[in-house]
């Protein structure tokens, strides 16, 4: 069956219709990214091939490899991103699984805590970690008070503190990518496995885990690529050894004003990301992401060598966890064959709650700090006052910035959904020539350092008069949000059974009806996650806003940044606390509405 034909629901389509059917859904995303990413960024990066006087030269690249330092920094960047990705996936998985399997109310409560930490600005979280891990910070003082340690302990400024900070920032993203996929897994399959005599560990690793793999790979990919571009966390939480490549790019742009070399460094990062991307595709298979469903069937019939190795690993892990579970059962004397999962379930809950505490702690620590009478973000807060809240309310700038951020985020998220969702359908379901290339283009806003995109957009906007406008900011943020939308929607489509659609067609539904009444309701969870990502990407975005506003208007992150780099007063903590309350109220309202609807 031709996919183009099936998507049109008509008989044999003409060549033209086949062409538009194939490319129509992709046209907006291709146009958008070529115009707003490839063209301006390409123009900017071409500066790296210019010597003095604008003639062609490889000077910047000679410098790149003349000293070992840049390759060294690239390796550090890859290492930190790798460990961050591993930690993030391991931490996110149990929470995502719990959320996906729990009944309505408990599920919503867990989701609420995950989202709460996600909405909290990356700047606030970094400051939160500094308050927690500082030599005289919360953890150090608490441990001293409890007499577990004698003097102040150094927790900051090391590779682990950077990885903790980055993992913390990435976990919500990873959880929200995994959940929709896991919700699509039929629990009866695990039950069937148990009925057939599989022990819990084996059932999990041989049945549940392979089914959840599209979510894991999508999450890992998003996390890894996003991690490559981090610069604030390593700058604030790392030592001189944890220098990441984006820090050097920004240093070249902001302090040395050397665009050519910044371009060369960006290209190095881009190449490294693409190499990883390709290796990842070959080994773990972004094919799980890009593969159409008929390929999945084929894989089921006869898995390739990578799949075989994967199955073997899963089987091995199953054995190991079975042994662990029975060991725990033996230790706690819980040998009853009728309830083999009890100790496992208790452990699972403990782990999930610990992870949620980890997620929310940096934002929570800012609540007491916001009531300090002192003028520094310190631990413990000095006295009690409302002066920082007063300061917030007295300045119209903060409220204006918040309002602007909300408007821009709604606009950008809507635009990104309109462009990204059809593209996800096309990439996930159609046979496309050069699919990996298209996917690389779609992911490029994540891979290219934001600073580079920001300046490229600024050049471009200046020419067409968009600097300082709402439209410019919305479009700029939509560009950044598209990769998150596409990946998330693709991940749910992967676990979506297209036979539902075929059934609808057989019953006489038109394609639009099928989409509206069958497909969209079924992938609703994924669409909501995608919209949320887009919303938060824009709401928390700083770099693009710094440039394309032309300095004439301000957004909430820009206002926070201005405070953070110039004074860093507890007004940041007050803003973060108000934001936390605001988001909590909104999320609770939405959940309340949803529950009512269900009743």
């Amino acid at each position: 069956m031709s996919l183009a034909a099936s998507s049109r629901g008509a008989g044999r389509p003409s060549r033209l219709r086949q062409f538009t059917g194939r490319w129509g859904k992709l046209a907006p995303v291709l146009f958008f990214l070529l115009l707003l990413i490839l063209y301006p960024v390409g123009k900017l990066l071409s500066l790296s091939f210019q010597g003095p006087g604008g003639v062609f030269s490889l000077q910047a690249y000679e410098r790149l490899f003349a000293s070992s330092v840049y390759v060294q920094v690239m390796v550090v960047t890859l290492k930190i991103s790798f460990w961050t990705t591993l930690a993030t996936v391991v931490i996110s998985y149990p929470v995502a699984r719990a959320i996906a399997r729990l009944p309505g109310a408990t599920r919503n409560r867990l989701m609420f805590w995950v989202q709460l930490s996600f909405w909290c600005s990356f700047l606030i979280r970094t400051f939160g970690w500094m308050v927690l891990l500082n030599r005289n910070g919360f953890i150090s003082q608490t441990l001293q008070y409890l007499q577990i340690v004698d003097g102040p302990i150094d927790l900051l400024y090391s590779a682990p503190s950077v990885i903790v900070g980055m993992t913390h920032a990435m976990v919500p993203l990873c959880i929200l990518t995994m959940v929709p996929v896991m919700e699509g897994i039929d629990e009866n399959l695990s039950k069937a496995g148990m009925t057939l005599g599989g022990r819990p560990g084996s059932v999990f690793w041989r049945v549940y885990f392979p089914l959840s793999l599209p979510g894991v790979t999508a999450g890992a990919l998003l996390v890894f690529i996003t991690s490559l571009g981090f610069f604030i966390v390593p700058a604030f939480l790392g030592s001189r050894h944890e220098t990441m490549i984006t820090q050097l790019i920004i240093e070249q742009v902001q302090e040395y004003l050397n665009w050519g070399f910044a371009g060369a460094l960006s290209l190095l990062l881009l190449v490294a990301a693409l190499v990883i991307f390709t290796i990842y595709d070959r080994l773990l298979g972004i094919s799980t992401l890009t593969g159409s469903s008929d390929r999945g069937v084929k894989a089921g019939a006869g898995p390739g060598w990578a799949g075989l190795i994967g199955l073997k690993i899963c089987a091995g892990l199953g054995h190991v966890s079975d042994m662990l579970f029975s060991a725990i059962d033996r230790i706690f004397g819980n040998r009853g064959a009728g309830k083999p999962r009890r100790s496992g379930a208790g452990l699972e809950w403990a782990v999930v709650l610990a992870i949620l505490a980890f997620l929310i702690l940096p934002a929570l620590i800012m609540v007491p700090v916001s009531f300090t009478a002192g003028s520094r973000i310190n631990w413990p807060p000095e006295g009690f006052s409302l002066r920082w809240y007063q300061g917030l309310l007295d300045s119209p700038v903060w409220l204006q910035a918040a309002t602007r951020s909300v408007i821009v985020a709604l606009g950008a998220a809507t635009l990104a959904m309109l462009i990204g969702t059809p593209a996800a359908f096309a990439i996930a379901r159609q046979k496309l020539p050069g699919r990996t290339l298209i996917l690389a283009l779609v992911l490029s806003p994540l891979i290219i350092p934001r600073m580079v995109i920001a300046v490229a957009l600024f050049y471009f906007y200046a020419q067409i008069g968009l600097v300082g406008s709402y439209a410019g900011l919305i479009v700029g943020h939509a560009v950044l949000a598209i990769p998150y939308v596409v990946i998330t929607v693709m991940a749910v489509l992967k676990s979506y059974d297209t036979r539902y659609d075929q059934a609808a067609w057989n019953l006489g539904a038109r394609p639009t009806q099928t989409l509206r009444f069958i497909t969209l309701p079924l992938i609703k969870g994924g669409l909501i996650s995608a919209f949320l990502f887009a919303l938060i990407t824009s709401f928390d975005e700083l770099t693009i806003a710094l440039f394309v506003t032309g300095g004439l208007t301000t957004t909430l992150p820009k206002q926070m940044w201005d405070d953070a780099i110039n004074v860093a007063t507890p007004i940041l903590a007050a803003a973060s606390t108000l934001l936390l309350v605001f988001v909590a109220v909104i999320t609770l309202l939405i959940h309340r509405l949803q529950t009512k609807e269900q009743k």
């Binding site: 005289n136 900051l156 220098t243 050097l248 600024f458 050049y459 300082g468 201005d562 860093a568």
Partner: protein, 357 residues
């Protein structure tokens, strides 16, 4: 500001789906600007911007009726200025607080700035020649002295030699993760005289840095981070731009400054090519350069005046935190941006490598 907002709304309505709106926008904006007489001035963020607003922008509007609209940007907005001039979008008319390095870069890369032609004005003549050239005039001076915790030292450190002396002055240190100023500090610590600092003796500087490296708990990238470190007690000494510790000390942090061999730089006014308000820009610059106006900034933030007459309007106590105080100028040096422009790439490579090793 109301006009910008109005035009922004009209643009938004135009832009719903129509690219025609985007093309029409600049003309709406420009005409609105020409009528109401306003200048858009690139301005730094934070307390410095607040101080400039109170000391320069508001009094200027009160005196002339011309509104000054601050446009905030990152530290060295060279790429923005290039884009604004090249695209003729006229987003900014002029820039305040631009570093000498940025101005050098803009002059080197093309035709982005205008000659101000103000050298014969009386108020400009009050300002020492070292603070100005034909494209830009300095209106403020920032400096890096040594910041230390008053409560941690019985005998306070006085200079960079003390900063490098870990036996006589035990305690944790932080330094800037950038070779600019850091290498100068290393040479001062090694006993080099102010007049001999440039051209930098790199081998000697790095050898000197090797001594302090194990004692540097953190390398800061933003000045607020440095202040955070020292007010939290994470470190006891740090070289950082003086306006930041001064502000923190005013809020009660136990910080003090050692000014011997401070390293300073100049913040400058410059006019962007293509502005339709060249005369107004010149009028505004002359207004701000008056000693009394500059004193207004210096009283609020520790950015020092370039016009020596400003000190007539500043208390002797306040003068102790201002870098152009004659007592501090005697042993201080200005960052040699010419040296750095010529050597910064090679030095940056070496510095980054040294940091990682």
């Amino acid at each position: 500001m109301s006009d910008t907002r109005k035009s922004a709304i009209s643009r938004r309505t135009l832009l719903i789906g129509a690219s025609a709106g985007a093309v029409a926008a600049p003309s709406i904006w420009t005409s609105a600007r020409a009528q109401t007489k306003r200048l858009i001035v690139r301005t730094p963020g934070g307390p410095t911007a607040e101080a400039m607003k109170k000391a320069y922008y508001e009094p200027f509007q009160a005196a002339t009726g011309i509104e000054i609209v601050p446009a905030t940007s990152n530290n060295e907005p060279v790429s923005q200025i290039k884009a604004i001039v090249e695209s003729k979008s006229k987003t900014w008319d002029m820039a305040a607080s631009l570093s000498r390095a940025s101005i050098r870069q803009l002059l080197k890369d093309g035709d982005f700035l205008m000659k101000h032609g103000l050298d014969n004005e009386a108020v400009v003549k009050e300002i020492p020649v070292g603070f100005r050239n034909e494209y830009a005039i300095g209106h403020g001076v920032y400096a890096t002295p040594l910041t230390y915790r008053k409560d941690k030292f019985k005998e306070p450190p006085k200079n960079w030699k003390d900063f490098f002396d870990v036996k006589a002055f035990p305690g944790r240190r932080a330094m800037r993760k950038n070779p600019v100023e850091t290498l100068e500090i290393a040479l001062f610590a090694d006993g080099v005289a102010p007049k001999d600092i440039y051209p930098l003796d790199l081998d000697r500087a790095f050898k000197s840095l090797d001594r302090i490296k194990p004692h540097v708990a953190h390398w800061w990238t933003s000045p607020v981070q440095a202040i955070q470190l020292i007010t939290n007690g994470e470190v006891d000494m740090v070289p950082v731009w003086s306006n930041f510790p001064t502000a923190a000390a005013e809020q009660g942090a136990p910080l003090s400054l050692a000014w011997e061999n401070n390293i300073w730089g100049t913040d400058m006014f410059t006019i962007l090519k293509g502005t339709e308000n060249f005369e107004t820009c010149r009028q505004f610059i002359l207004f701000c350069l008056q000693g009394e106006r500059q004193a207004g900034v210096g009283r609020q933030v520790a950015i020092a005046p370039t016009n020596p007459n400003a000190f007539k309007f500043i208390t002797p106590e306040r003068a102790t935190v201002l870098a152009t105080n004659p007592a501090y100028q005697a042993t201080g040096i200005e960052i040699n941006d010419e040296f750095w422009a010529a050597n910064r790439d090679a030095i940056a490579d070496r510095f980054n490598k040294w940091l990682l090793s």
